[in-house]
Symmetry: C2
Subunit: 287 residues, 2 copies
């Protein structure tokens, strides 16, 4: 079922809850790919009913970012969801979510603001207000759908960590499930933004996963010094790569480390053909 | 039942919900008086089960405010709640609410931030961060108790307006019920902070309700100009009164008005004997 209205979703979920059924939510911005489908699969395994939200959230994009050009493929998404056995696709308008004609600013909108220490690093450094927008829409979706479980991809690692922190700090009664990154055979992490890349760009984009795999391999061969690990990246970079960050931090708190350990995660953000790509990897062998 | 732990409350409420019972929450900072009891009475009339939270919330007090000296009377509160037929008193520690040893700052805590236009006026002007702290704890309590209804007093008018705005903006599935101000026979609005006043101070404090009643009376005699209405206050003030604000604004949006109308509310904040007191009144006859 495709729903555009909050009240439709609420009524349906309320019916389910009366029957004692468990509900899983997979929050997406649409443009669904195999990464999203892996979240849906996990949700289907975990819960009786699955809701996929399909909403390009304006308040998590900065003024110079790709909100207008972000891919919108609702018809294709609906087909994929039907095939995957999704019970509800919730695709609201921005007016439905934020009120008709309402300016989207913290002058007139209540925001959920994750902690400065979690935001002022990695993607948050270049994307001011991004995680405020993410937490606000995720909490709205949680309040609308009232799921028992919500499913997020490890691809947006900082996002999952911040959402977990929000859930903990605000006592949100939703269990967060993180699912592994899905990659093309080439190693490229799936992303809706890969659609912006030419074939040539996709080849250049392989540097991200190569750098991360190499760091993991070096770590497991005994190199623990973070600076030394980061320096191994240079050999993969060309003038096609506009690096934003490469960091090795604690996988739960995002705290900087000088020495890597089994709780470390390496994260990278890099532009290729002007497209901002991110990827990450846990350093511990087998994770 | 007196509970100190989040999980105890959740388990009990979950039992109730399975039985199809409705739940009302009365959030308080304790030091219960007849104002709170009127909220509890309304909650009892509206819901099958009533939870009163009794928690002096550290993050809504500024560094120079009265957090340490704020009255704490849990034993007396418990007795009043028992007599009033309250089902659960939830009196958590600050550690239970915010994590042991956690510094209470937006560096490391997720906050709910109400909109600037609602905060940067009236009490919010002098109490920086106060309403962030209020919204954060109220949302936490909503997520812990998951009530169908929550009850707030009109006494803290800006607070109710901001909580309603939060509920609307974040799609929180709780209905907000506002209850009228309870006053002593003298006209003094009940407040836990009245305990700080001497008998002399309580007499001086009557200026607040007198000023508001007089403004309402003048409005209903035909004076609509806001400045003219505000000027009627001077005759009630002595050197015992340290006025913080007297404003006439829209009762739903807190927008300033030049001309009062039936949607107007007059609000006052004034210190007497160093104690910060607030009061308010709807200008429309009969409200």
């Amino acid at each position: 079922m495709l729903f555009h209205k909050i009240e439709e979703v609420r009524a349906k979920v309320s019916d389910w809850k009366k029957q004692g059924l468990t509900v899983g939510l997979v929050p997406t911005m649409g443009a669904l790919h195999a990464g999203h489908l892996s979240l849906i699969k996990k949700a289907k395994e975990t819960c009786d009913k699955v809701v996929v939200s399909d909403f390009v959230n304006p308040i998590q994009f900065g003024p110079s970012e790709d909100f207008d050009k972000y891919p919108r493929t609702l018809n294709a998404d609906e087909k994929l969801c039907d095939e995957a056995g999704v019970d509800i696709i919730f695709a609201p308008s921005a007016d439905e979510m934020y009120g008709e004609g309402q300016r989207l600013s913290n002058d007139i909108l209540t925001y959920v603001c994750p902690p400065f220490f979690y935001v002022n690093t990695l993607c948050g450094k270049s994307r001011t207000g991004h995680f405020d927008g993410v937490c606000t829409v995720v909490l709205k979706l949680f309040n609308i759908v009232q799921p028992d479980y919500a499913f997020f991809g490890q691809k947006d690692a900082q996002q999952v960590i911040i959402v977990r922190k929000m859930v903990n700090d605000l006592n949100v009664p939703v269990k967060i499930v993180q699912c592994p990154i899905v990659r093309e055979d080439s190693g490229l992490a799936l992303s809706s933004r890969n659609k912006y890349l030419t074939d040539e760009g996709k080849k250049d984009a392989l540097a991200l996963s190569s750098i991360l795999n190499n760091i993991k391999s070096c770590y497991n061969k005994g190199i623990k010094d973070v600076n030394a690990l980061k320096e191994t990246a240079y050999s993969f970079l060309t003038d096609k790569h506009d690096m934003e960050y490469l960091e090795i931090v604690d996988k739960n708190t995002l705290e900087d480390k000088k020495t890597a350990d089994d709780d470390s995660i390496a994260l990278i953000a890099c532009r290729v053909e002007g497209v901002r790509l991110i990827d990450n990897i846990y350093l511990k062998e087998g994770e």
